[in-house]
């Protein structure tokens, strides 16, 4: 695997030893003697009147050859520190820029101890600004490829189970009403936000709050059906129109969430807990384990419901042939109502679990996985609940494992490509039947 990236993890050895560190030169010095210092530093962007500068030292000794880069506002530049550990980069505008130190160019056993290797910097009153990184003793731990593969595979199963909760709702709604529901993304976000509301605003114990959030999500699903989808079905609105209505609904709800919670990332209680080693390379947080157990139990419950109960059987009958089901005495509207409640509750649960997995709650968090949900549903077979489960786990594992080979910021691309390829080769999906394609 030549393209495999060596993932690096950081371990600070001892805080006491690490205090020996760093250095810092004050901005004033550069503001006053800017001309002088630039004579030494390997200066980039000298033609601009604004400049960032810094001095990289470790245990009072300058560190030479460390790569520093500046980016932002459509501008990019990089330089390396000189023999005195100094660097300076000119920038065209007096704006906010991101300054990054390339940790791999630091000497062995030295890392950026605090604040991270990438910082945002803005100018004060003057046109010069010094930016310093605090170095400390530590090591970058290299994890073996097979261990990473196992860990990612396990993460992928967890992510896939969570996707499945949301995807089954999409699939059941599509099967019974023919609607590709884009607003499912917002039902996912709703669950997480409801959990946040009950646990932080109402100060309920976290487990009770999350249980109430799932109930509220089910009620939300019911109200969407009663308030929007049922009247539209009665009105005889076409499926394409319904799909566009769901897009409008998705847009409106997304911005309603932004209106009320703002653009920041919020956390549920217990999110981002410490991970502990289960066995071998797999280490999980408590929330991960609980999340997987809940997903498996709920998914098994939905499976049992679909296969063994009267209403579950009626749901599958409607998915197969709605008019035949209706003429055999099945209350189609009643079943669709239950499907919407179930879809809302499952999506809400998925939202809560995802808030722990990411971790964090954001107004557009549902929109970020909407296409993965669609990819999972299409891969498994539109309208088949068990197909959605299979598709979700494949997509979840693929997304996590593929980030070993491609940069993490494009790890969703694989899933989206699968979506397109499935439609090319086997549009009915893994478990779908051919006549659904039309």
């Amino acid at each position: 695997m030549p393209t495999a990236q060596i993932q690096t993890a950081r371990k600070t050895l001892s805080p006491r030893v690490a205090v020996g560190l760093l250095l810092t030169f004050v901005s004033l010095a550069f503001a006053l003697f800017g001309g002088m210092s630039s004579a030494h530093a390997d200066e980039v962007g000298a033609e601009y009147e604004y400049a960032f500068s810094g001095n990289v030292q470790y245990q009072d000794k300058p560190v030479e050859g460390v790569k520093i880069s500046v980016s932002g506002n459509g501008y990019d530049a990089e330089t390396v520190t000189d023999a005195e550990g100094k660097w300076k980069i000119g920038v065209p505008e007096k704006e906010k820029y991101t300054i990054t130190m390339d940790e791999s160019t630091l000497p062995d056993g030295v890392i950026v101890a605090e604040g991270g290797s990438s910082v945002e910097a803005e100018f004060g009153l003057s046109g010069k600004k010094s930016v310093n990184f605090f170095l400390g003793q530590g090591e970058r731990v290299v994890v073996s490829f097979s261990d990473q593969l196992i860990a990612r595979f396990f993460d992928g199963i967890n992510f896939g189970l969570m996707l499945a909760l949301a995807a089954i709702g999409v699939s059941l709604v599509f099967g019974t009403t023919g609607l590709s529901n884009f607003a499912q993304a917002e039902m996912v976000t709703f669950g997480a936000l409801a959990g946040l509301f009950f646990s932080t605003v109402l100060q309920l114990p976290i487990l009770l709050a999350l249980l109430l959030a799932v109930v509220a999500s089910g009620a939300f699903g019911w109200s969407l059906d009663a308030g929007i989808w049922k009247p539209l079905r009665k009105k005889g609105i076409g499926l394409v129109q319904m799909m566009i209505v769901s897009i409008g609904l998705s847009l409106a709800l997304r911005y309603v969430f932004l209106f009320f919670v703002g653009g920041s990332t919020l956390q549920l209680e217990g999110a981002g807990d410490a991970k502990f080693q289960i066995f071998g390379p797999i280490s999980l947080a408590m929330s991960d384990i609980i999340s997987m157990v809940i997903s498996i139990v709920v998914l098994a419950g939905v499976g049992f419901w679909l296969l063994r109960t009267r209403i579950g059987k009626a749901t599958r009958a409607i998915s197969d042939n709605a008019s035949l089901a209706s003429s055999s005495g099945i209350d189609v509207d009643g079943v669709i109502r239950i499907v919407w409640i179930l879809s809302g509750a499952l999506a809400g649960l998925a939202g809560i679990l995802w808030a722990y997995f990411r971790p964090g709650i954001k107004w557009d968090m549902g929109g970020q996985i909407l296409l993965l949900i669609f990819a999972a549903v299409t891969l498994g077979g539109l309208g088949t609940a068990f197909g959605a489960l299979v598709g979700s786990i494949i997509i979840g594992v693929m997304v996590e494992v593929s980030s070993l080979f491609i940069p993490a910021d494009i790890k969703y691309i694989g899933a989206l490509l699968v979506l397109i390829l499935v439609l090319l080769v086997r549009p009915q999906g893994i478990l779908g039947r051919k006549e659904r394609i039309g």
Partner: protein, 325 residues
């Protein structure tokens, strides 16, 4: 409240480059959806190809501005063909999901650090204006009247945008009254009937997808001309706004998308002026940030209401939209 300032600000949006860019994209989408019945939800992807094709050609390869535009158009043709081959034979809603996924793939590729050398990743590209401005025939100075006072650079962007928009409208108008346009509308109404007449339905749909896609790329160029290219602009919301514009004006009309874009942006600009002013004056009990968000909620609600109650749009004929089932 500075009512005059608000009116002037709102009026300036009638001919803003953004309005023109959205209008061109909407004309392209009307070819896809209104005339061919194709559910293209990847307009943001076509626009991103136009904008990045233009900016990268100039910045990385040092080509002149008109070559950049041709590169953007070429990229959108390739994108349309790649999208169309797997999906044009399938049911309509599959095309919707594939196009939206493809547009997201493009956005992620433009955002990733992997191609930072050419795309400058999340920070986007800027500073590619010299070549286009050098071709400006307008002598330096301030021109116009009332709210529409601009310098020669701003007018050059607007006039160029208008020319592209006029060409797009002219092409759609003449195509749709040609035999080709009649076949295309026939496909929209009943694909099997047209196939029974011996027409190659797949080829017609593909041609429509390419033509609308090139318009989308041109919209991306006009969008990029006055400012910068940032990958965060080409999200799915952009596509949904263009859908709102097309459905508002009338999907199967020549001028509907253009008028739709003007109405959309004038209302958006008016809300952007009025709501914060009301919030400041204490009439609406919301913060300034909330005031900025409120108008996007209205867009979503408006999209729902238009589709439910007037899917043919302001200027459309209901008979033209019976295919939307």
């Amino acid at each position: 409240m500075d009512i005059l300032g608000m009116l002037s600000n709102t009026a300036s949006w009638i001919i803003s480059p953004t309005t023109i860019a959205y209008a061109i994209a909407a004309v392209g989408l009307s070819v896809h959806f209104g005339y061919a019945g194709l559910l293209n939800f990847g307009m943001a992807g076509f626009m991103a190809l136009g904008a990045y094709g233009y900016a990268i050609s100039i910045l990385s390869f040092g080509w002149p501005w008109w070559a950049g535009i041709l590169v953007g158009a070429g990229a959108s043709v390739i994108f349309a063909v790649l999208l169309g081959i797997p999906t044009l034979r399938l049911r309509a809603d599959y095309l919707a999901i594939v196009t939206i996924a493809a547009a997201e793939i493009l956005r992620l590729l433009f955002t990733t650090m992997l191609f930072d050398e050419w795309t400058n990743s999340a920070d986007g590209l800027g500073g590619y204006h010299d070549s286009f401005r050098a071709a400006n025939p307008i002598p330096p100075g301030e021109y116009g009247f009332g709210p529409w006072m601009y310098n020669e650079k701003d007018w050059w962007v607007r006039i160029f945008g208008f020319v592209l928009l006029a060409i797009a409208v002219l092409i759609v108008w003449s195509l749709m009254r040609s035999p080709w346009g009649r076949v295309l509308r026939g496909i929209r109404e009943d694909e099997d009937a047209v196939r029974a007449l011996g027409k190659n339905v797949f080829a017609y749909k593909m041609q429509a997808l390419i033509i609308g896609g090139v318009f989308g790329a041109m919209a991306g160029v006009v969008f990029a001309l006055p400012s910068a290219v940032v990958p965060g602009s080409y999200v799915t919301s952009l596509t949904f706004f263009i859908w709102t514009i097309v459905l508002l004006g009338g999907a199967a009309t020549v001028f509907g998308p253009v008028v739709g874009s003007v109405i959309f942006w004038v209302i958006m600009a008016a809300l952007d002026n009025i709501i914060p002013a009301l919030a400041d004056a204490g009439i609406l009990p919301i913060t300034n940030i909330q005031a900025g968000v409120l108008r996007y909620i209205f867009v979503g609600v408006a999209l729902m209401l238009i589709v439910i109650y007037r899917p043919q749009g302001i200027f459309g004929n209901k008979k033209e939209l019976t295919f939307v089932k």
